[in-house]
Amino acid sequence: MDLAQDVFRYVEKMPGGNLILTTTDSLFNWAKANSLWYLLFGLKCCAIEMMAAGASRYDLDRLGLMFRASPRQTDLMIVAGTVTAKMAPRIRTLWEQMAEPRYVIAMGSCAITGGAFFYDSYAAIKGVDEVIPVDVYIPGCPPRPEALIEGILKLQEKIKKESLTKR
């Protein structure tokens, strides 16, 4: 990826380089956006909704989302549920094990702000963005599968605006 970035920075300076760059950018972004493999990983009640979204009626596979168990092979981490102080380092490790480019969706109010555990909880982290950077927030307690799908569509839009030279 670093090598590719160097190459593209070089291409950008050539005459007509921008044209090549935007074409390849859109091709690569199309591939990245349409093949988001997510990590088989859930924390709490939102995970049930995530499973429902993956199963028959809502079917994340339609969007090209497939689950993989190993973080090395995934692109997307859906943090579904309350992040406890004990779990936070593990989430950090899993995120660090994922290969670039990687994206994070914070699903449900607990993963966004701590939700119901915002006051008077010694155990809950107030939002997963204290541990890892988050791309898309999906509110709800828990959000319905439709909301998760909308969040994924938003993430795809976001990926399609990326460029190889700057990320």
Partner: protein, 317 residues
Amino acid sequence: MIIGLIILLLKIAAVLVFISLTVLFLVYAERKVSAHFQVRYGPMRVGWHGGLQMIADTIKLLLKEDITPKDVDKLVFFIAPILCFVSAYLAYLTLPFSPQIVVKNLNIGLLYILGVTSLTVLSLMMAGWASNNKYALLGGFRSVAQIISYEIPLVLSVLPVVMMAGSLNLITIVEAQKSLPFILVQPLGFLLYLTAAAAEANRAPFDIPEAEQELVAGYNVEYSGIKFSMFFLAEYVNMFTICALAAILFLGGWQGPILPPVIWFLIKVYLLVFVLMWVRWTFPRLRIDQLMSFCWKILLPLALANFLISGLWLVLK
């Protein structure tokens, strides 16, 4: 000499390209078949009915960061996926698609394929060991134990076919089935072959090496990006190989009325591939001890009995 060499290389390249495209199609078909078995649609957004899904996946896998963890055995970690990929493709050097379309017709073709596929075991073992990860090591152990155990009933179920055809040459074996395919004479042998071969290719219900629930992802836990895609593709190449071999040995290969030979061959192979997918998405996974006892206590005696009876029948006929 030189022209012959060039023609040979061209043939190899053509077969490689064909197999790679087939494999991409197989991965797509697997996702669609699995989806429809589970009352889902499968990939729908990318191209017509998700037809371009595999292209997107391939580009993404090539773009992913290629991680080499800190404490791995770097040389072995690098070689294992390449060996897996190459050994999966080596079988196609002698696998005939029709009497004309074959790279090199070996006199001992069947033995050659059995020998080359045993190289896959090594690559899985190397991957499991080099990753320096207990899940990878356990996955490697399990897959190797499974593959070398199931190789015995596999070979024993193929031997009656060799006895009846009187040759190890795959083209001769197909031509021996001119009047009737061997599946009618050897129904038990066919079933045994298909079961053992599904286990050889690590297909469900024998996919214990990759059991997500207990072993994360088996021997390829630590692999990412292009190295992982090599393992992934090799798995589907192996599946196509075992189905092609089953079509050649039991279903009469390319023989059939009206249509050209290659089409008949591909129809038979894809039918078998569909059967394997059907089995995968219908049956639950076996436990490792059930798997082993199934091999040694059921498949092996049945294969031996089948072997003995066909031998007696051939002698007394």
